[in-house]
């Protein structure tokens, strides 16, 4: 209890600094925040954030990422990716989150997840795919980051967002205050997660794909494909910088999957993969 109070005080102190700099009704916001904190179980289950706050943070990150690379203007493609993604995410422990998926205009090979269920794949990565099970595997990896709140955790570690987020989440749309907390632009998606968070997302991905009825080796196949793109190829520069090398991920997956997936048949749906014109 004492630790909690100390943390609360520290939090309030730091929020004070943040809030003072932004200049909004501090007294009222602090009272609101304090009463929020007293509601039992409201946000503890979500690693310090309510779902509403998580989505507000995720929206800000997603909107900034789209500012750097807009959606590919192909409605059928975007709808298709949402169908596959939502089906995969439905197999996770957060099936009712409003999951959003998109393909963005970039020839880089990469995929991004933001809190609250915002997931984007670059056109460069999408074009490498051979079938729907590979798309499912890639999206499932990102779903893994969202359900384990990997990005929220680094936000929490790096900035004073736990109370700040509570003060700020209520406003919808582009929000300067949230932006100030997550850093500039979509910088956060270029930050490396802990290596083990990536391995964890890989382990989750093969299982979610299998649960969804897909061939479980979709993600490993994509990793093999990316693995032989030269590491000095600029299209994978950011991916290789922020993730363990695909070969290391494959070696880990090999040990972790062992023979658990033998004989588990799933669909690859090569014929249904939507091809970008």
């Amino acid at each position: 209890m004492r630790r909690l109070t100390a943390k609360l005080l520290l939090g309030l102190g730091m929020t004070l600094c943040v809030a003072a700099a932004r200049g909004f009704d501090l007294g009222q916001e602090l009272r609101n925040a304090a009463s929020e904190l007293q509601k039992p179980g409201k946000s503890s289950a979500l690693g310090g954030y309510s779902e509403e706050e998580e989505v507000a943070i995720g929206r800000q990150i997603a909107g900034s990422l789209l500012g750097a690379a807009p959606l590919v203007k192909d409605k059928q493609l975007q709808k298709y990716v949402n169908n596959v993604g939502r089906w995969v995410a439905s197999q996770s422990e957060r099936p009712d989150l409003a999951w959003h998926f998109g393909v963005i205009e970039s020839n880089d090979i990469n995929a991004f997840a933001a809190p609250g269920g915002y997931i984007f794949v670059t056109k460069g990565l999408y074009k490498l795919l051979n079938d729907e099970s590979e798309l499912a595997g890639v999206l499932a990896h990102e779903v893994g980051h969202v359900i384990r709140k990997h990005h929220l955790k680094i936000l929490q570690q790096s900035r004073m967002v736990d109370l700040g987020g509570k003060l700020l989440a209520r406003q919808a749309g582009g929000n300067d205050k949230i932006q100030n907390l997550i850093g500039s632009g979509a910088e956060i998606v270029s930050r490396s997660l802990d290596k083990n968070a990536e391995f964890e997302a890989d382990r989750i991905a093969v299982v979610l794909a299998a649960r969804a009825g897909y061939e479980a080796f979709g993600l490993p196949q994509v990793l093999q494909e990316i693995g032989h793109t030269g590491s000095n190829d600029s299209s994978v520069a950011l991916l290789f910088k922020t993730h363990p090398h695909p070969d290391e991920r494959l070696a880990r997956l090999g040990d972790e999957m062992d023979s658990r997936f033998d004989g588990l048949k799933g669909q690859t749906l090569a014929g249904r993969l939507y091809r970008i014109k």
Partner: protein, 171 residues
Amino acid sequence: MKNATRCCLLAALLITIPFANAGESGTTIKADELKAEPFRDAKTVGQLAAGDKLEIMNKDGGWLQVKSARGNGWVRMLNIRKGKARNSSAGTEMSGLAGLASGRAGTGRVVATTGIRGLNEEELKAARFNESELKLAESYLTSRTDAQKFARKGKLMARKMGYLPDPGETR
């Protein structure tokens, strides 16, 4: 009768969707057994050593059917890297897994230089929030029910499976 069987076989071969990467070369990254069929308890027909070159013929789940100097058979996909092992022609010294992977640097993919947006850290940092693009992205939401319909069309059957255990932290 014999002819009919042969016809059926031929038809089956023709109907089978050809494996996209058939004929691709690969390298064994970890010593492993060659199996007569694509499962662990199948008969062992050979032994591959790390670094063995092979040709990939077919694929079944997590298994690849390969041809190699040590025999033909099925081997676990995750013990194979596609592409040739690095030949020491260019760049910095690399060894092991990383070396295998970067062996094809510069081949294959062409890096375009005009009209293409890279997504480096600076660009992401400088990105401005785009409300209308975000709303467009959100407009493509698929409901859980619609996702189920989509799955049914593809004959995707949901099944139960536990998450894989964490083998422990790595260095």
